[in-house]
Structures are given as structure tokens and as C-alpha cells.
Symmetry: C2
Subunit: 404 residues, 2 copies
């Protein structure tokens, strides 16, 4: 192997290690592997428990022939069991690569066989295949890289053994990078689930179910996306918004759960939940926590300056606060409560529309009203279910052993 090639593999390894978005990482791995092996196409499968999940695929010939739109349509994620019968499954089960110069020559009695249905359907002709298990440091197979049709003068030829060696080295780096990205994704998921569980538990003091905060988070992210914000901002608002009412933990039941209207003094205590929430979250270097401090403090401000606790006006109110204000009120008035049926949709939308420039940022109202189909999808997906209501109040007949 040439020094130049080795240096390239080192550089590629660093690129892989620096990419923390799984989808982008898999695309990067596949395109680099294609480049190194001159393969016309390829795909990556990841192992998830006892399933192989088809994640990423590229095929230059079909891309030229069918165009990117059609390709997107036919390349869908699918799952299959991990068995020796498929080529990818064989590599996954045995941990050994398969180097096949011509799939038409695979003996009938081999453990594995080539499934030509994709070729037949889209008029492609697979000849040579290289299947490489992606193994982590403990030699556990975490996925499979499959490369198709190494090209020489535009004709499929057998994969070059010298190049295959490079691909094997490369695939070890790829496996570690994939595993690291999965690990950070798991850490993030664990964090977010904790936020929803704890914030949701706090919601039970004055709501029947915790789905309110789920819906508000989704509405808020939708608004942020429609405003054209980057992924980080949209994620941040999604994960910080469940904590917007955390300050209600400092409000007594007698006020929080009072059925009738509040006296002026009670209202002023109730309004403190914004400040208490900000205090819970103050002085943090963690982005999601300082973000939730801002959301807690400002989600009851109104665009015309009549909100609380600071009577901020217009864009003095941080965008996050303006977004949650709209998402929160919309969900509150459009959901069912014990003491009242949900408002009819026209009435809800009339209130939102009328609030533009008064309660709400008019630009946000406009965006919100332009994506009602997506809003309704969220409402349906995270609807309050009867069986969730009063979950913590009726504890009879629970199987405690099942909880251990």
C-alpha cells in the first residue's frame, strides 16, 4: 500500500470520528468505501437486537437512470432477520467478509444466496459484490457494509484483493465511529426521556395527563422549523420546552388546583411560577438548562407588553418565549379538561388569530396557521387518552411485582 493511500485512510478515519450525525456518517462511510473500491453501488445495514436494519444505499447507475426523486422513493428503510441466507446476513452471522466475483456463479448449495428481485424490478445488473462485517473492538458485528459492481472502464469486474485490504481496515474505523455516534445518541435519548418523565410527573399536579407538554414541545419545534432555524435551535426548543412550567412545583395545591377564578392575591402567587422556574434553572453552563430558564421566565409575556412577570414587549421577549406562549395557549384551549369539553376548532383558531399582535407574535401566528395539517397530526398522535387520566390517583389493583 502506498503512503499516500494510508495517509488518506488516516484522514478519512478522522473525518468519520468527527461526524456525530448518524445519517451523515453512514453516507460518508458509504461514499468513501465506494470511492476506494470504485464500486457502482452499495448499502449499509445496522444490527438492532435480532434484526438487520437497512439504513443507507447509493447506486450511481440507477441515480443517473431514475433521478434522485425516484431513488428516494424506492430506497426505504426496512428490517430483516439476521440469518445466514442473505449475503449481508451471512457476513453478520459469521463475522467474515464475502468476496463474490460474480453473483450468478454462487453455487446452488451455498449457505447464502443472492436475491435478484431488486435488480429485476429496476433493471439493474449486479455482478461483483464485496460484503464486509462492521465489527467493534470486541469483535461484535454491529453492521454490514455491502459494495456492488467494482467498475473498470464502466464494466463491472471482481473487486481487487489489494483494495479489499484497505476496505477491511477502513471498515474497522467505520464500525467504531458508528458505535460512538450510537452511544452519544443513546446518551441524548436518555437525557430527553428523563426530562419528559420528570416534567411530565410535575404536570400531574394540575393536569390529567402529561401529554400536554409533549404536544407543546412538538408544536414549538414545528414553529422553529417553519421559521427556518437550524437543527440545533429546533432540538433545543423541543427539549427545553417540557420544563416551561416546572416552577409550578413552588405553587401550593390550594391555588394550583383551585376550580374557580383566583383572587388577585392568589393570581399574583400563581404568576410566580415563571420566576421560580427560572430560579430552578439559574446559573447553569448546560445549554438545555439555561434555555429552559429563558422559556420558564418568559412564556407568559405578551407581545403587546401586558404579560408577566416583566411586561416585556414585542421582540424584547426572547423568541423561545414567544414560541412557547403560542404553543402553550393553543394546546390549553384546544384540549379537553375535566371541567369542560374541548373548544370547537373554529373558535380556537379565532382566538389565536385575534391574539396576533396582542398576546402573540403576529409572524408566529401566521406561520402557525399555515401549517395546521401538521399541527393536527401532532394533536392526534399525542392525544390525551382516557386510560392515562388519573393514572396516579387510582392505584388499586396494580401489580407491584411487575414494577420491580
Amino acid at each position: 500500500m502506498l503512503e499516500k493511500e494510508f495517509q488518506e485512510i488516516l484522514d478519512v478515519g478522522i473525518s468519520l470520528s468527527s461526524e456525530h450525525d448518524l445519517e451523515k456518517l453512514l453516507n460518508l462511510i458509504l461514499s468513501k468505501a465506494q470511492q476506494l473500491s470504485k464500486a457502482d453501488g452499495g448499502s449499509i445495514y445496522l444490527i438492532n437486537k435480532d434484526k438487520m436494519v437497512f439504513k443507507t444505499s447509493r447506486n450511481n447507475t440507477l441515480l443517473r437512470k431514475l433521478g434522485p426523486e425516484k431513488i428516494k422513493e424506492i430506497v426505504k428503510t426496512f428490517e430483516m432477520p439476521v440469518t445466514k441466507q442473505s449475503l449481508a446476513g451471512y457476513a453478520a452471522v459469521t463475522g467474515k467478509p464475502l468476496v463474490i466475483p460474480d453473483v450468478r456463479q454462487i453455487p446452488k448449495d451455498a449457505d447464502f444466496h443472492y436475491d435478484p428481485s431488486f435488480d429485476n424490478k429496476y433493471g439493474y445488473s449486479t455482478v461483483s459484490i464485496l460484503v464486509v462485517p462492521l465489527m467493534n473492538k470486541e469483535n461484535k458485528v454491529i453492521g454490514v457494509l455491502q459494495l456492488i459492481n467494482s467498475l473498470k472502464d464502466d464494466k463491472p469486474v471482481a473487486f481487487d484483493p489489494a483494495v479489499n485490504k484497505i476496505i477491511f481496515s477502513f471498515s474497522s474505523q467505520a464500525a467504531v465511529a458508528i458505535e460512538n455516534t450510537q452511544l452519544t445518541d443513546q446518551l441524548k435519548e436518555a437525557h430527553y426521556e428523563t426530562i419528559f418523565r420528570l416534567s411530565g410527573a410535575a404536570e400531574y399536579r394540575d393536569k390529567e395527563t402529561a401529554n400536554h407538554i409533549m404536544r407543546v414541545s412538538h408544536f414549538a419545534r414545528l414553529l422553529a422549523e417553519k421559521l427556518g432555524h437550524d437543527r440545533e435551535f429546533c432540538e433545543m426548543i423541543f427539549w427545553s420546552s417540557p420544563m416551561h412550567d416546572i416552577g409550578k412545583l413552588g405553587i401550593p395545591d390550594s391555588i394550583l388546583q383551585k376550580p374557580g377564578p383566583l383572587t388577585p392575591e392568589e393570581r399574583s402567587i400563581m404568576e410566580r411560577h415563571t420566576i421560580i422556574g427560572a430560579l430552578v434553572m439559574k446559573d447553569s453552563e448546560v445549554k438545555i438548562i439555561s434555555q429552559s430558564r429563558i422559556v420558564a421566565l418568559t412564556h407568559h409575556e405578551k407581545y403587546d407588553g401586558t404579560g408577566y412577570p416583566q411586561k416585556l414587549k414585542g421582540t424584547e421577549i426572547p423568541l423561545e418565549g414567544r414560541i412557547i406562549a403560542l404553543a402553550d395557549v393553543f394546546d390549553a384551549i384546544s384540549s379537553k379538561r375535566v371541567y369542560r369539553e374541548p373548544m370547537p376548532e373554529e373558535k380556537v383558531l379565532a382566538i389565536i388569530r385575534e391574539g396576533a399582535g396582542k398576546h402573540f407574535d403576529p409572524e408566529l401566528v401566521e406561520i402557525f396557521l399555515s401549517c395546521l395539517a401538521e399541527v393536527n397530526e401532532i394533536k392526534v398522535k399525542y392525544a390525551d387518552l382516557e386510560e392515562q387520566a388519573d393514572k396516579f390517583r387510582k392505584l388499586e389493583g396494580l401489580d407491584l411485582k411487575a414494577l420491580l
Copy 2:
């Protein structure tokens, strides 16, 4: 460069990427760099904002001469400003490596100079030095690797330029691995801080400060460590135990905050907080959440089977539950409350001792009593402070702008 060497660097890169413990990773980087360059010693600095933090150091000659105990004593983490004057600082500021065949030949008017105080103090003689900035993919310097005295026939010689090239490649891999480990550490820290903030906020409903859950977490980890459990178990109990009382969110103020003794019916409602906590955390694939479900459900069981909610007995109670039971009761009786002064220590210990085999696992009581010095350190470090008490109740005079 030889193929064998390159393959080794690739393998080392994979080892680095697979190591997620920062301290172990830095040691691995340093020992590999020493091995590649035949250096007698070396150290790694990491950049933290405007400071360089001295993290890891190895010196074979001094290790032989002084022994591991003495080395541990003299090698302490320290911080220094990032300025061009020191060798490591020069590499950090300029992003360029320094290759110094003999430190005694550094011109007096050079930007940087070599500080001989360590050599003088411990009778070491530094001659050749190689200083390599650790740069991430965006060419930002995240740390510095410094190697001392490349040895040939046990004599310090200048570092070999051919080897230096390998070290430069290696250092890029090292930088990415360090950055990835720091990223996962940050993700974990963010998660844990969220747990403490949200669980702490929930505590304010019936406690004056949230330090109770801090102390209980620390006591619990201490017990797990003294029992000889591995780092993962100890971490898990530390981070899940703040959530042990989260089910109190489902208990009304009228019971939770009742000053006098509870009626039997009120007590039975109060006891539900164990089950509610388990329900908040049920059906999760996230380890920390399922762990906190177990802690919530079982931390009021008693060793003799007289606890609640399941009247589990002895080792039927999961270890986590037995640990938190002891830590929680100890903290409750040894802390000050609004309505009473803290109990004198002898009385607290007498209660714990007497509870062995009745309320508490006798083995845990024994371990706990054998590490009272460490227990007291935790008590002092996380003591309830007057200014924290009633933080959320007295909100007058707060500067809200400072919270935005």
C-alpha cells in the same frame, strides 16, 4: 513509512476511539506516543477556556528512581495561562509543533523558554523535547502533547524527524478521540445536572433545601463503593437516587406538608409515593430510569419485612433500595428541620445501629459505621445553608433581568 507501522497507527486510532474514559484515554495516548518516539517522559495538557490544564504525565527514569508512590505525590494537576512563554503554551497559541534537540541551546531571545525548576527539584535532566499541538478537525488546538528525551542506548538524543511525522498523524487521531470523550462527558453531565435540578425542585414542596437529595446520592455512592461495586453500578446509584421521592408529586400538599402526625388514611395515601414514583419511571429502556423505578418503589421497604409497599424482606429488597433506605433515613434524622434542631450525632448513630437487621441491611450498617469520616465530609460539603432555605418562597427584590 512501513506498512506495518501504518497498520499499527490505524489500530491505535481504533483503540483511542474505543476508549471513553478521559483519564484512561490520556494515559493510552501518552504511552503510545512514548513508545512510537522512544521518549523517556511526556505529558498532556488540555485547553479549558483560557487555561491550560496539566492532566497526565509519565517519566520512566523518575518512576524507577522515586517509585510510583512518590511520583503520584509530585505529579498533580495544575493550571497555567495559555501564553507563548512556555513551550506547551507556544504550541497551543501558534498551533505549530516545536522540535527542540537540546533545551539548553534555546536562544535567550526566543519567544519561549524552558522552565528547569522541575528538573532541578527532582534531579532530572531534560535535553530533547517534542511539543505537538492537539488539533481538532476545525484546526482548533484542544491540548498539547509534550514528549521528553528520545532515548538511544539510554542516552537522550534529538527526536527522529521520520518518527515525528508519525507522531503528528497520531496526534490528530488523539485530538479527535479526546474531543469525542469530552463530548460524551458533557452529555452525561448535562443529563445529571437536569436530574438534580428537576428532582431538587420537586423536593422544595416539603423540604427547605434540595441538598437532602445531594447528600443521599453521595452517601449511596459511598456505600456502593465500599461494597466493592464497579464504577458503573456506583455511578448508576448516584444518578438515579435523586429521583427516589419523585412520586411525592402525586401526594397533595395537605398530607405532604401536614405538620402533625398523619391519620392512618393519610399515611396510606402518603405511602403511595413509592408506587407513583415507579409508575412515573415504568417501561423504559434507559438504564438510569429503570434503576430509579426500582429505587422509588423499594426505598421504604424494611429489612425485617415491615416496610412498604410490598413488605419485602432481607435480600428480596433490591440492593439499591436497601442502600437508599439507609442513606435517606440517616440524612433525615441527622439534618436540621424548621420544626426541630438536628439530633446529636450519638443519638443518630444509635438509631442506625439499632436498626441493623430491623429497618436496615446489617451488612450495610456495618460498612456505613466504618466510614463515618467520609460521611461527615459529605455532610459538611452539602450542608443546608440558611440562604438557600425558602429560596422559592421569598421572591421580593429579585433582579429578573439578571435571570434573562
